[in-house]
């Protein structure tokens, strides 16, 4: 009986030991994992996979595995995995997600990335004097419009492409009278589109410094300058500037609302819109021959800075602090930041890149668009960061619910909106 037990025990131990023996390593086979969220944009998928394959070629024995998520699902997965010491080696982040920095989940990238390849302004906010994310995408907040409709309404764009407050209001009224929706916009599934117009107008009125202070709760929304802008925007809203289904229209649907279903005059959106617009029409892109124009956001009376514009850094990547393959992860990031890749980004994804691409002239079917975009950037001063991105906690929720949705949606008066915003933003820090 005892020998029986003994032999089975021995057998068990033996089997376990054998099972635990590592397979003979021929050479170090390393897999680095990457999480990203751009699964529904084939051009970006191709771009990242290309970078992955380059890294694999340059470092034999390395596998780069990219897992694709949808954005909020990816955030949920990251926020669950990282505190448990898990998670991918490299992952997508956006610059506002500074909590990853303060909680120590990502590595500082100052010494790991070749920063010469990145535009200087895109190096993003420094926390503790270090840079933590590598930017890929940049965008400016623009106001696109339909040239043909503008002409039909009998308006001409001034030489600096900027209407005054009164001109803009008149334009909106005339447009609505002609039965066309002046501004295509929808906040059904995003917390920022509705705030573009009022945000840029506030930026113009207050200038770079004070606009930042407003976002961080240091200036009250009842300030006379802020109220002047809000009252003007309320006039626009009351004149029917936005679509009737503004509150529930989805971002994707607002694109086609602008083009032809039912077609609108203007479309305030980040310049990443082009990534979708230049896709084939059968995949939701702009119809061929659409007269796309770009105008500046209206000039506000007695403004501090009518040539100010919001710029944003979009997609960025970070390296997990718990990674075991730091250099390979950095290699992946660097591969995506070469000038060639930057050029490829612009030419296939049609978005501005944070990578330096040199002064290569634009070619291809969309050259005229990029030329016009370039025009609109001349002489502009930039404010980095969108309100809904730059604010925190309750204030951010209030921007999403009030300035983005309820106020342009006509649900609250300017005064009530200012009070709600103050409760969430101004009071908190006072």
């Amino acid at each position: 009986m005892k020998s029986h037990i003994l032999s089975s025990a021995f057998a068990t131990v033996f089997l376990v030991a054998v099972g635990l023996l590592p397979g003979s390593p021929a050479h170090a086979d390393v897999t680095i994992s990457v999480w990203s969220h751009e699964a529904d944009q084939p051009a970006k998928v191709a771009f990242r996979e290309l970078a992955a394959r380059s890294v694999e070629r340059a470092h034999p024995g390395t596998h780069v595995k990219i897992t694709w998520y949808e954005l909020s699902a990816m955030n949920a997965a990251l926020r669950t995995a990282l505190p448990a010491g898990q998670g991918p080696d490299v992952f997508y982040l956006e610059p506002d997600q500074t909590d990853y920095i303060t909680s120590g989940y990502i590595l500082p990238l100052d010494n790991l990335i070749n920063w010469n390849e990145i535009q200087s302004w895109a190096r993003g906010p420094r926390v503790e004097g270090k840079t933590w994310m590598m930017p890929q995408e940049a965008y400016t907040v623009e106001l696109y419009y339909n040239k043909a409709v503008l002409q039909k309404l009998g308006f001409t764009l001034p030489s600096n492409a900027q209407f005054t407050q009164n001109q803009f209001l008149a334009l909106v009224r005339k447009c609505r009278a002609a039965g066309i929706t002046p501004i295509a916009e929808g906040v059904g599934d995003r917390p920022f589109p509705g705030a573009y117009l009022v945000g840029e107008s506030l930026l113009h009125k207050l200038g770079l410094g004070d606009y930042g202070r407003l976002l961080h709760g240091q200036i009250s929304f009842h300030d006379s300058r802020v109220m002047a802008v809000m009252n003007w925007v309320k006039q626009l809203v009351d004149a029917g500037a936005y679509p009737k289904n503004f509150m529930t229209l989805k971002l994707g649907e607002s694109h086609s609302y602008f083009y032809q279903k039912p077609g609108a005059l203007m479309f305030p959106v980040g310049s990443w819109f082009i990534g979708r617009a230049f896709a084939p029409a059968s995949q939701g892109g702009m119809p061929a021959g659409f007269p796309l124009g770009i105008m500046q956001y209206p000039a506000i009376d007695k403004a501090a800075c009518n040539e100010c514009k919001t710029i944003g850094i979009g997609a960025s990547f970070a390296i997990n602090a718990a990674t075991k393959h730091r250099d390979l992860a950095a290699a992946f990031l660097n591969t995506m930041s070469t000038p060639e890749m930057g050029q490829r980004w612009i030419n296939t994804v049609y978005e501005q890149s944070a990578v330096r691409t040199g002064d290569v002239p634009f070619t291809g079917p969309y050259a005229s668009y990029f030329a016009e975009l370039q025009e609109r950037q001349k002489g502009e001063k930039y404010f980095l960061g969108l309100p809904v991105v730059d604010t925190e906690d309750q204030c951010r929720d209030a921007w999403a619910q009030v300035m983005n949705a309820a106020f342009p949606g006509g649900l609250v008066t300017a005064d009530r909106a200012a009070t709600l915003m103050d409760e969430a933003c101004y009071r908190r820090s006072h």
Partner: protein
């Protein structure tokens, strides 16, 4: 045995309304037969309206599943002009729905089986036996039910790492079991507690052991509740998203609800493909239900206690 149980319990043959088909007969005679009666017109109108309300969206989704997204955005309600069967192939292969489908089956079938077995045993125990701490057990179960899974998942994750079950279907199955166990126990215990104690006393006097009693009395007589919980768990877990997306990071381990992530993106919603994905997810379960609904209802009336 089950027949004898019932006979013993009631002292006579139970005379309920009978088979699901026979059931309506009495009412039918009362209401005047299948021939058209003016009195039934409001009923029929209501039935028709509700059928449109309940079935309409599914028909709409089915239509959308064979049209492309631009076609849909162009005219949401039109009938398909060209039938795009290739979308299903594209979803199955390119968007990996094939893999997700089998993973879903394994995860959900495994979880539902475990839940039924474990839940029935524990419910039987709580209903039949008095022991110290039974109240505490009930309270613990209830508390697990009411805390939001959105929070629990963070600690749950750390546990799975500790057990080496992260990113595995086994881990997901166990998490599903733990998340639904509370509700399952709640339903089953409430029902099992109603079974007349005399049945058990009789069986014990006949010399049956505890396990026998459980298998031969509780389960057949408790079948309605068991089927109810199986159905509820199946429906809830088949569409479960949050746990699956956080706990499975390998694409080949993902389940069906995660497939929609391929089509819901930052800038656009590919409604056509989402519809196709839904048809892949819903048709098998629908067929399952259609074939088994008769059996299910029989099962649910089989152990009737009245």
């Amino acid at each position: 045995m089950s027949f004898e149980i019932r006979k013993y319990a009631f002292g006579r043959m139970p005379r309920y309304v009978g088979s699901p088909d026979g059931g309506g007969v009495h009412l039918l005679a009362a209401v005047g037969g299948p021939r058209f009666r003016a009195r039934r017109l409001p009923l029929m109108i209501f039935v028709l309206l509700y059928t449109i309300l309940a079935g309409g969206p599914l028909v709409w989704v089915a239509m959308m599943s064979i049209r492309t997204t631009p076609e849909i955005l162009d005219n949401p309600y039109a009938l398909p002009s060209i039938i795009h069967w290739e979308k299903f192939a594209s979803a199955w292969i390119d968007s990996n729905y094939g893999t997700y489908f089998w993973n879903s089956i394994m995860a959900v079938a495994g979880a539902v089986c475990l839940l039924t077995m474990i839940g029935a045993m524990a419910a039987h125990c709580l209903a039949r036996y008095r022991f110290r701490g039974a109240g505490l057990v009930r309270f613990a179960i209830l508390s697990g039910m009411v805390l939001p899974p959105q929070l629990l998942i963070l600690s749950l994750f750390q546990i799975l790492i500790g057990y080496g079950l992260y990113n595995s279907l086994t881990g997901l199955i166990l998490v599903y079991v733990s998340s639904q166990l509370g509700m399952t126990l709640y339903i089953l215990e409430g029902f099992f507690a109603q079974i007349p104690q005399d049945l058990f006393d009789a069986a014990r006097m006949d010399g049956y052991g505890d396990m026998d009693i459980f298998l031969r009395i509780t389960i057949p007589v408790g079948l309605p509740a068991i089927i109810t919980t199986m159905m509820l768990n199946l429906v809830i877990l088949w569409n479960e998203f949050l746990f699956a997306v956080v706990l499975l990071t390998d694409d080949d381990k993902r389940t069906l609800p995660l497939g929609t992530m391929h089509f819901i993106g930052g800038h656009q919603l590919d409604i056509g493909m989402v519809a196709t994905g839904l048809m892949i997810a819903i048709v098998p379960v629908l067929l399952l239900y259609a074939f088994f609904s008769e059996t299910m209802i029989r099962g649910m009336t089989a152990g009737a206690l009245r």
